[in-house]
Symmetry: C2
Subunit: 193 residues, 2 copies
């Protein structure tokens, strides 16, 4: 049975996108620094990045992340698995080569149900952004939380934990991979006590 | 020459004190969970906790932290080194056995100057809380940042990074110690590019 993995890159002060987001700077000012480890990191970083796709049968993301990512993700849509976009605005599916983005307007539980069905027993990966991550955590839908902590203090921008995620969610430390570019933390999310 | 080390325990969602702080629950609801690693942790946790005091010649803390801590710290004041409390309210020094708390009303730079003079070449440790940490980071006064990340999502409470810390402060990953109770991250704070 697949797990539900929530995975996101953030600065040491919990920022997931820089200030002043715009169509030119979709991740905000210097927001690209949060993802450099994926593209210009060490071999250990590359292994961590590959793990994102290993065993993933479907992806869930928020509407802002889709809007931000769909162009940079290119003609094949990068994920090459069914992707479900949590949104309030209904839209027709977007097909990018082997990647189909389906828009889900009836909440995170519904998105997860559809993603699980599409994943066929493989993992469902919740990719962000912050709002979607918090919705999934708050609803108790996440089995594993992976935080890629980049050695920067942004000081301003979009905060991951800028809203409720549930009350005292207990985590269990599962693994840490340490590189000069990021500290990759993996936690199991424990059921409520 | 001593370094300036800023050191604090926080949950994985960046909370340094639980919600509903009061005189009975000085660290807020369940806030004690953030410091359990110090008292009920593994041998590795104990070594990390001891490092707080090794080489420390003086301590700096905020007024709220003093108010919160002075009773639990006991008759010897725990630190046994000169402590400087950054505050707006002038007050006479408080002496607890070998520990003297001096109140500094003219800002973090002044507190640091006095702490450095008192430390006699040893390190100055900035202990928190959040406001004091942010003041020191923002003023570029910190050489090393140690975050003890406890495997919990509090969801609410006092956030460490709930205000400016400077713009894109670059950190350098120095060390990580991983235990079931906390991920102890040590960063060097780099000078502005």
């Amino acid at each position: 049975m697949g797990r539900v993995i929530a995975e996101i890159s953030m600065s040491a002060d919990g920022i997931v996108a820089g200030p002043d987001t715009s169509t030119e700077h979709r991740l905000g000012r210097d927001g690209d620094l949060l993802h450099e480890w994926m593209f210009e990191g060490t071999e250990a970083d590359a292994e961590v990045a590959a793990r994102l796709f290993d065993g993933a049968g479907a992806f869930v993301l928020g509407r802002s992340m889709f809007d931000m990512g769909v162009d940079p993700w290119g003609e094949d849509g990068t994920f090459k698995k069914p992707c479900f976009v949590v949104t309030h605005r209904p839209a027709e599916p977007v097909v990018k080569g082997p990647t189909t983005f389906t828009f889900v307007t009836d909440g995170p539980e519904s998105a997860l149900r559809q993603a699980k069905a599409a994943a066929g027993g493989e993992n469902v990966v919740v990719m962000g952004g912050g709002t979607t991550m918090r919705q999934f955590l708050r609803a108790g839908l996440v089995d594993e939380l992976r935080l890629h902590v980049v050695p920067l203090l942004f000081g301003a921008g979009v905060r991951l934990f800028d809203g409720p995620v549930g009350d005292h969610v207990r985590l269990e430390h599962a693994a840490v991979t340490e590189t000069p570019n990021a500290t990759h933390l993996t936690y199991r999310v424990l059921p409520p006590a």
